[in-house]
């Protein structure tokens, strides 16, 4: 996660949460591509404003391009309607409706990802503090910090495991799909063992530092919502309601 220096113009993570939730809500409700495209452009602008790393994030999902392209085909084949663009025998491989629906799904995904990247511009400690000040119990909110800390570590471990598997002479390129899946299944056990192991060790360490102490918890750093935050929250929520109102009626 990006740790930004103490910037007095920093927005409270809670206003970011509201903003992201509003954008995601719209993305889920919109079915129409003509609403999604401006929403997507808006989301990109928001991310640029927050200087989030959305491009990197999208790049990480480039492996899923295959699934996206498949979406277009699946939508074309199984949903009837629209003009056929490509046909094989009686099967419509690509139709306008298919492209339309497939792209909608892709856009929805992208909107949610990009808006989520805005959350990454706050430190996990601030997000935890924000949620805690919203009265969510600390034992739950601190999980956010744990996830932020450990997910990248788990990713790296998975990568190492995958490498060591191949270094045992497994030439992936030469394997059939079935055998490939078999190999991947062997990664489950060590990953689960690793997660359970780490969870156990961490929970011991934090309990011994008072995680479940029966005291009123104080906070070293507190967050204050400022004028800019209230504006953002107000605008996000009211625009979302307005837009949804127009969308459905």
């Amino acid at each position: 996660m990006t740790i930004l220096k103490n910037n007095s113009n920093q927005l409270d993570p809670r206003s970011k949460i509201i903003l992201v939730m509003c954008i995601s809500t719209l993305a889920v409700f919109f079915q129409n591509i003509f609403w999604m495209i401006p929403l997507f452009i808006f989301t990109l602008l928001v991310s640029i404003f927050f200087k989030s790393n959305f491009f990197n994030l999208i790049w990480k999902f480039k492996k899923f391009i295959g699934i996206f392209v498949a979406m277009i085909f699946i939508q074309s084949i199984f949903v009837s309607g629209g003009e056929e663009i490509l046909k094989i025998g009686n099967f419509t491989l690509i139709s306008t409706l298919g492209i339309y629906n497939g792209v909608s799904i892709i856009l929805r995904f992208l909107i949610i990802i990009v808006s989520a990247s805005v959350m990454a511009t706050s430190s996990s400690r601030d997000i935890v503090q924000g949620l805690y000040q919203w009265k969510i119990p600390y034992e739950i909110t601190f999980m956010v910090a744990v996830a932020v800390r450990f997910l990248p570590m788990l990713k790296e471990e998975a990568s190492d495991m995958f490498i060591s598997l191949q270094l045992r002479g497994v030439e992936l390129e030469k394997l059939s799909l079935r055998k490939k899946l078999n190999i991947y299944s062997y990664l489950l056990m060590p990953m689960i063992a690793s997660v359970i192991g780490k969870a156990g060790e961490l929970s011991l360490a934090v309990e011994m530092r008072g995680l479940r102490a029966d005291y009123k918890r104080t906070s070293f750093k507190t967050l204050k919502l400022r004028f800019n935050d209230y504006i953002i929250m107000l605008l996000s929520v009211s625009f979302t309601f307005l837009i949804l109102f127009f969308y459905f009626f």
């Binding site: 598997l165 270094l167 045992r168 497994v170 030439e171 055998k179 078999n182 062997y186 990664l187 056990m189």
Partner: protein, 223 residues
């Protein structure tokens, strides 16, 4: 077999002006025990990973005999060079010790008989026979390490790279590891051991290469 690094440079961050490894040239033969020492951050782990093809050099080339490993898949690299991670849990995958040794052979299509033979031989050699039906994650650290070694060696590589193998091992396990490595050396399997445990390396290494700041500071053959 010869592993050579020719003018190899490596940079962890693409924009970093100071590379982690600068213009390294090393030739290691697969005979004997080469120790790679150096302080934390000197680049020794990076060199080990470059040699095993885990990292690709930003400049320069790496050769096994005369073949550039640039275009070799990890699978085919693994047939020549085996790599043991510092944490043995990064290379244990199966629900039983025996299956750990057999599952890769099954994928590769060896016959039942061959698999059985190879597995039993390895279990014996690495003193794991009494544990063959155990759940690998319940083994002690020393036992896990032996399992990782057995699983890598069942593939018959001619060279091994070990990254800090003595971490968290007590004195008994270190002696056991020494015995096992000596055995392997006697079978003409060469090895590169990255370690800061000078005691372990001392009477053992044939060659000691010292790395500092990504460059070779010292390189001498003992004996």
């Amino acid at each position: 077999m010869n592993i050579s690094l020719k003018d190899v440079s490596y940079n962890y961050e693409k924009n970093n002006l100071i590379p982690t490894i600068k213009n390294l040239n090393i030739d290691i033969s697969n005979k004997g025990f080469t120790a790679l020492i150096g302080s934390n951050g000197s680049g020794k782990t990076t060199i080990g990973k470059l040699m095993a093809g885990i990292l690709k050099p930003t400049k320069g080339n790496i050769f096994y005999n005369d073949e550039n490993i640039k275009n070799m898949s990890l699978g085919s690299i693994g047939k020549n060079v085996g790599y043991i991670f510092q944490d043995p849990e990064r290379q244990i995958f199966a629900p039983t010790v025996k299956e750990e040794l057999t599952f890769v052979l099954k994928i590769k299509g060896f016959s039942e008989e061959e698999i059985e033979n190879k597995a039993e031989k390895m279990l014996l050699k690495f003193r794991l026979s009494h544990l063959k039906d155990n759940f690998p994650f319940n083994l002690s650290r020393g036992e896990k390490q032996r399992l990782a070694l057995a699983a890598v060696l069942i593939n018959s590589p001619k060279f091994l790279i070990l990254d800090e193998p003595t971490t968290a091992l007590d004195i008994r396990c270190k002696e056991e590891l020494k015995d096992i490595l000596k055995n392997l050396l006697n079978q003409n399997i060469g090895m590169l051991v990255i370690s800061h445990d000078y005691k372990f390396i001392d009477n053992f290494a044939d060659r000691v290469i010292e790395i500092s700041g990504g460059e070779i500071k010292n390189d001498h053959f003992k004996k």
